[in-house]
Symmetry: none
Subunit: 226 residues, 2 copies
DNA sequence: ATTCACAGTGAGGAAATTATGAACATTGCC
DNA sequence: GGCAATGTTCATAATTTCCTCACTGTGAAT
């Protein structure tokens, strides 16, 4: 039996997870925003915290960061794709795993079990996939979410970061527009294909001389070629 | 391509989903109540079942429960707003997601894709049907969509890529013009046969010395011979 | 050698696709 | 509320690619 804290502003989600967790014999507390989560985490020793990213008052990242100041409770993040997806890899925050919506409670609890078990065994967090990449004068730091162009820090918007990060993580792989929409915007984005073009354009503009790494694959999509 | 079972007592709903799903290239079966759904699920291995909750004879929950006795096929539930939301996650039933009416078929299919993909990811590790092929100095990379000729990158148009890729994927197989038209151009192309010749010509020109791999089968079509 | 059905080629207009700029919408913040 | 930044849509311009078609080349059968 674990003590679990479920943090989400949507009651439905909390309810759903609570039911399944209790069904499996765990004890569940709830909080509906980051502030409340931090307080509860301070008072009580949970085995794991399941937390949404998108919340009022204090979002998942910040709440996690705050909690880390006094405790190492494992955290499982819930997120929709397209929610600055890459921040999830913020291992410096000590996020142990994440689940992308739509999830089944079954899946969530499977991960909870895996995390708690792993945590009990050792204290090692998840493995990171290289934190920085460099292509000539273009430097990308996935952890700090920074992009440097010839040493100068680029000022990208969140979508631009996400798009660039996804492209770079899949460098030298031909990516269709659909794939990009699905992975960067999220499965629940029902907008126009051409939105990608616009973001690619802005990204290219921001990359200056290194725009060359983003190649157009006519009739298909794009590719980061390095 | 997925095999999908759509279960709903309203024909309109079934029809709408079927059309969209088939448009995306999936194969669709229908059932109009729970009983029929259980039977069909028993006979056939579907990739996913899309099922309404409210149905005559046997409702969605019970049908799902019944199916679970012999199979783990993922289930996406359709529900009208206000239909006891939390029951939806009768998790012990292993419902994977739900969509509330009124829904767009696009949304339904987006979730179907998410679920099936997730399900496939946990089952099989990697597909890997050789990502690159090399014939002497001709190197073809299906993943990065690159073609190298003696180390130099060839600049092919989309159709040329498609044509070459298809030929290579079916190397040493005689391909008729009709087959090529159907597979590379698509079933909805009603143009001239000779269009192929033109593209073959361009492809050959682009392949330089390796044009030799594309052989003409007089009276039949072409073949990539290696 | 001749024939003739089929394949190869070149060029121009048609069609498809991408790039871009600006309008419009949304979000977060003061 | 109003502002500023970001994200999305859309119309248009700029390219690139495709398709058709007429003509030329070729090979196998007679």
């Amino acid at each position: 039996m674990y003590k679990i804290l479920v943090v989400d502003d949507e009651e439905n989600i909390r309810e759903v997870i609570r039911e399944y967790a209790e069904f499996e014999g765990h004890e569940v507390d709830e909080a509906c925003d980051g502030m409340e989560a931090v307080e509860k985490a301070k008072e009580t020793d949970y085995d794991i915290i399941i937390m949404d990213i998108m919340m009022p008052k204090l979002d998942g990242y910040l709440a996690c960061k705050e909690i880390r100041k006094f405790k190492q409770t494992p955290v499982l993040m819930l997120s929709a794709r397209g929610e600055e997806y890459d921040k999830l890899f913020g291992f410096e925050l000590g996020i142990d795993d994440y689940v992308v919506k739509p999830f089944s409670p079954k899946e969530v609890m499977a991960r909870v079990n895996a995390i708690v078990k792993r945590n009990a065994a050792s204290a090692a967090p998840a493995p990171a996939s290289s934190d920085v990449e460099k292509f000539e004068g273009l430097e990308i730091n996935f952890v700090s979410r920074d992009v440097f162009i010839d040493g100068e820090k680029a000022n990208l918007t969140p979508k631009e970061y996400d798009l660039l990060f996804y492209l770079v993580r899949n460098k030298n792989i031909a990516l269709t527009r659909n794939k990009l929409l699905e992975e960067v915007w999220g499965y629940d984005f029902f907008g126009d294909d051409r939105t990608i073009d616009t973001h690619i354009k802005m990204l290219r503009n921001n990359l200056g001389p290194y725009r060359k790494f983003i190649v157009t694959l006519r009739g298909l999509g794009y590719k980061f070629e390095a």
